[in-house]
């Protein structure tokens, strides 16, 4: 009988791979392009899986599970590893008991991210191996290899994907689950697991020895594969770039690296000696290139042809190597873009309409509400990373002279999931250090931007079981903040009055907006209608940026119409209308 096959995305294949490899626990914080891994792992009932409030917690939960002897998966997007870096670097010293892989889903070209960092650098920095699959079959198969390697070399393994490997689908031959025989129990081993200077000093040399042994392993592992064809051009490549190279340069010989840190020096030198021209095709930083040049190997082309910004493609590689460009039809010019916008009915719309009106500086954060930065709303003025809004706003308010000038007043805006992730400590800092800033917590009871995942406030766990629903106002009060104000986000007068009062206060004010996500919880009211007799076509309502509204022009006359299939009946447009033209 032929083996079972399925078409899986890289993320689905990783989930299948960890199930087959006997993983017992999986933890993650959602982040594009990694989110679907845990969403698929939860369907395998042999694995306990959970959403953690942030990536550091997710990795620490994973470390605990690994030290107890269980095979473990932890996943996050590339910037999440920055949050988890603290435990990661010392976990490198303690090593594992049950194998642990940390999936870092990188996002070259920033399809859905705030930066383009290349997390292979973490492998070198934390002195742990990095494994990179190039399609869904490898996404599944390399998991078992990575876990064996983790246990054999007593090290966590970084498992790096990119958006293209995580989100593209290809055929996968499936296997069955193999349970691990190792006992899961707590073993007291202070010198290995308690990192005090006295013990860490003994672990560090082991880490350095481990890298030397991993270099030997890199020479023989099937993860690194040479495919000799014509030897005029030899390409060293990894991940999705391998697929592009094979299609663009079918005659070229290829050294495909699946273990991308540490590198197999002998194998690379042997390959380089056999080819006339050596090229390195890697998206992101010159991670191979710098190391290979340091080995004394002559590299003919690397970052000179294949830049460190953005993604590659088959056509791009053909063009860079052969100078052949495909003749293209003219791309249509000046078409109106279609950027994402707040959903019809979204509770963020009214909030940002008023923040814009008040002309304050909005210190923003990461979530759906970051869309408040885009035109025509354009009312978010900074955004760096998860949880930064409140602390940055505090820093601004401490140095900017306070006056009645609204443009110099700051409002920090953060969502519920981001608040639980890393905004709570920022807020604690504000009250501790007597901040006079205003923080708004937009609590829509979900992790919206990544597709509506559960979080500590949503009342459910990853597998849908009932859970606590963290009480944000009570939490804020427990920090010692006296001024906690609740706002109805669908009442513009309420928002404006309460925000004005908050901005006039010389003490810290926290505004909590409780309104469930209309998309996640399918909330809809009867659609509104425009009375064309009353509508003057002034376009004031269009400034709230709702896709259900559009301007209809008939001759000299113009008026707004509402698409009843899209309108969620939230009433924000009706409240900005000066002519009372929008109603039920």
């Amino acid at each position: 009988m032929s083996k079972k096959k399925a078409i899986l995305s890289g993320n689905e294949a990783i989930a299948r791979g960890v199930w087959e490899a006997g993983v017992r626990l999986a933890s993650a914080y959602p982040g594009t392009p990694s989110t679907e891994i845990l969403e698929n792992v939860k369907n395998y009932k042999d694995i306990y899986s959970e959403w953690a409030p942030n990536e550091k917690v997710a990795l620490e939960v994973g470390i605990g599970s690994s030290i107890a002897g269980a095979r473990t998966l932890v996943t996050m997007k590339h910037v999440g590893v920055n949050v988890a870096a603290d435990p990661l670097f010392t976990f490198s010293y303690t090593g594992v008991k049950g194998g642990l892989i940390l999936v870092s889903a990188d996002d070259p070209a920033m399809h859905s991210s705030q930066n383009e960092q290349d997390n292979r650098n973490y492998g070198r920095f934390a002195k742990i191996p990095v494994i990179e699959p190039s399609d869904s079959q490898e996404c599944k198969d390399f998991v078992a290899v990575a876990l064996d390697l983790s246990e054999e070399f007593d090290t966590p393994v970084m498992y790096r994907t990119t958006t293209r490997t995580s989100h593209s689908k290809s055929m996968v031959t499936l296997g069955e689950r193999t349970e691990q025989s190792g006992k899961i129990e707590l073993e007291k081993n202070m010198p290995k697991y308690t990192m005090l200077p006295v013990s860490a000093k003994k672990r560090h040399p082991l880490v350095e020895e481990r890298i030397v042994k991993l270099k030997e392993y890199a020479e023989t592992t099937p993860l690194n594969r040479v495919e000799y064809h014509d030897t005029k051009i030899g390409v060293i490549t990894n991940g999705i770039s391998y697929q592009y190279v094979r299609e663009a340069l079918p005659e070229a010989s290829v050294l495909k690296l699946g273990l991308t840190y540490p590198l197999p020096e002998n194998k690379i030198k042997e390959f380089a000696a056999k080819v006339d021209q050596l090229m390195i095709v890697e998206e992101g930083d010159p991670f191979f290139e710098d190391q290979i040049k340091a080995m004394g190997v002559a590299v003919d082309h690397g970052k000179d042809l294949f830049p460190l910004i953005g993604e590659f493609s088959v056509a791009f590689i053909k063009k860079q190597v052969r100078g052949i460009a495909v003749e293209l039809k003219d791309a249509a010019a000046d078409l109106p873009g279609r950027p994402p916008a707040f959903c019809p009915g979204c509770s963020h719309r009214g909030i940002f309409t008023i923040l814009k009106k008040l002309k304050v500086f909005v210190s923003g954060d990461i979530g759906c509400y970051t869309l408040g930065a885009l035109p025509p709303i354009s009312a978010m003025h900074s955004c760096i990373c998860m949880g930064a809004s409140i602390s940055m706003g505090h820093g601004m308010a401490k140095v900017v002279e306070q006056s009645d000038d609204m443009s110099q007043k700051v409002v920090s805006v953060i969502g519920d999931s981001t608040f639980f992730h890393s905004g709570m400590t920022s807020l604690l800092n504000c009250i501790y250090n007597k901040s006079n800033s205003v923080a708004m917590i937009l609590d829509n009871r979900t992790t919206g931007m990544t597709g509506g995942q559960e979080n500590p406030g949503s009342g459910r766990t990853l597998d849908g079981e009932e859970a606590i629903s963290a009480d944000i106002p009570a939490l804020v009060k427990a920090f010692g903040i006296k001024n906690v104000v609740k706002i109805d986000p669908y009442n513009l007068v309420d928002i404006e009055e309460k925000m004005k009062a908050a901005l006039a206060s010389d003490e810290m004010v926290v505004v909590v907006v409780e309104a469930p996500c209309v998309l996640r919880y399918r909330i809809s009211h009867p659609p509104l209608k425009v009375d064309p007799g009353k509508c003057t076509g002034c376009k004031q309502c269009l400034k709230v940026s709702c896709n259900a509204l559009s301007l209809e022009e008939q001759g000299d006359d113009s008026f707004v119409v509402i698409d009843p299939n899209m309108c969620a009946g939230c009433g924000i447009c009706a409240q900005v209308c000066k002519f009372d033209a929008i109603g039920k």
Partner: protein, 194 residues
């Protein structure tokens, strides 16, 4: 078999991904190597969506480069035009003539061009404009416009009709199967003899 490249372009919420899924499962059933790729994350919020479907004897890259698409399947007029440079010379355009305003147009910041259909036709390639919404409505629900498009494309591919029908039965919820089979056939007929 040479690799066939199908680029699907539409707006978040139009069922572009389900349509891609029908193409990939039919190709798998026909024993072809298949890759499919899309970028998601913010597409639910009314943004542009494209999905790349490639099948043949051996497929490496999961994405279709500009100038390489055999078929450009547009689920909306403007999105069809936006991706026209992806079509290869001699390629085929099949698009739904419906219009969905981008937020920039709805808010009066930008204008939706009047001559989208003319600009598409000016590409000089075989073009089939379909009233996907109307045919979807005729099938019983305008939301089945995505399956109307699948039907239209299917008549250009040498894969048996029964395979398409079987996959629609498999991928759609039971109570929507009949409606979508009807939508599939309406799309398939709409391009015949043109």
């Amino acid at each position: 078999m040479e690799t066939t490249n199908i680029l699907l372009a539409g707006v978040g919420g139009q069922g572009v991904l389900l349509a891609s899924q029908i193409f990939t499962s039919v190709a798998i059933e026909a024993d072809l190597d298949v890759k499919q790729s899309e970028v998601h994350g913010m597409s639910q919020r009314g943004g542009s969506v494209t999905s790349h479907v490639r099948f043949g004897d051996k497929v490496f890259s999961p994405t279709i480069d500009p100038g390489e698409a055999d078929f450009l399947i547009g689920f909306e007029r403007l999105e069809t035009l936006r991706n026209i440079h992806c079509l290869k010379p001699g390629g085929t355009i099949i698009y739904n003539t419906m219009r969905i305003n981008p937020s920039s147009v709805a808010s009066g910041v930008a204008e939706y061009p009047d001559d989208v259909a003319e600009q598409i036709a000016a590409s000089g390639e075989k073009t089939y404009a379909i009233d996907g919404l109307g045919l979807g409505q005729q099938a019983g629900n305008p939301r089945s416009a995505n399956v109307v498009m699948v039907g239209a494309v299917s008549s250009f591919l040498s894969l048996p009709e029964s395979l398409w029908e079987a996959k629609i039965r498999e991928l759609l919820p039971p109570k929507l199967v009949d409606l979508n089979l009807k939508a599939f056939h309406l799309g398939r007929e709409a391009v015949k003899g043109k």
